[in-house]
Amino acid sequence: MPAEALSFRERAQLVIQREVGRLLSPLWVPLVVATMRFGMGWRIEGLAEARRAYRELWRGSPHGVIVCANHLTMVDSFVIAWALAPPWWYVLHYRSLQWNTPEQENFARTFGMRAAIYVAKCIPVRRGGDRREVGRVLARITWLLSRGEAGLMFPEGGRSRSGRVDAGASTYGVGRIVRALPGLRVLCVYLRGDGQETWSDAPAPGERFRVRVEPLEPKSDHGGLRGSLEVSRQILAKLGEMEREHFDARR
């Protein structure tokens, strides 16, 4: 579904959601980061380089940025956001805080959870659910990015069940968004904790993450679904390459 197919009501809902989150951001953004930093005792190595790259890409992009990352835990989007900019940056440049699409069953079970993810720029999706509903979520993200917002997607479509990037994953959502928005900047992010052998619900307390970032300009000469899939696979191939570099550097 093309982004322009969103109804006025849907667009208004997204604008309201954004504004509610923005107004509350001086409270919730530092709180989330403080919880990760001091509550969980997590650390990120490579923070300065990642933040510099994100700022540069952000400033040079009038059409928004999409962050594409590997996926190991249910809280990756929070850790990645923290890796890419400090809390004050997001409060001042709220558009640069990434929208993301958490699994509905994990994050939207209770009213409290739904309220929290509403504020935190999330649009829940039921993976493997009705294709029209999934398509509407993609259309919402596409529309937001077309307005200069940032988004975060996991091109594998779920947490890496093998613990490694699945370069053959047949997801097309990221590719569809990238192809729909010429000029959209793509930033590949590889994040992994030293203690993360495979996927899990959450990283262990005291985890030390390492982050790598690389801009990418994926392209495809194909049209339709094949083109979207090819773009998604180029992004996955880059994440796989970054994963190899991660492990090579640790030998």
Binding site: R127, R131, S170, Y172, G223, L225, R226
Partner: protein
């Protein structure tokens, strides 16, 4: 191409991806691909690409959103074949 022929080819393409083989015995237009046949949603893309190859058609990725049942697949292919 006859609708029946499209239906048979669609089912043949779906078959390798079906986890609930018992459901194939009573497959019909209303059979849900993900819920009844238990095809992995990630594999749905491969299925649609196989339709493109088999029927020599191009399917816009937005059209994948309308594919939920076997009947949806048949209708989509028939539309593209004109």
């Amino acid at each position: 191409m006859e609708r029946k022929e499209i239906f048979e080819k669609v089912v043949k393409i779906l078959t390798p991806h079906v986890k609930n083989q018992a459901a194939l015995a009573s497959v019909s237009d209303s059979t849900h691909i993900l819920d009844d046949l238990k095809v992995n949603s990630a594999r749905l893309v491969d299925v649609v690409l196989a339709f493109e190859d088999e029927f020599d058609i191009e399917i816009p990725d937005e059209d994948v959103d309308s594919v939920n049942t076997v009947g949806d697949c048949v209708r989509l292919v028939a539309e593209k074949l004109g």
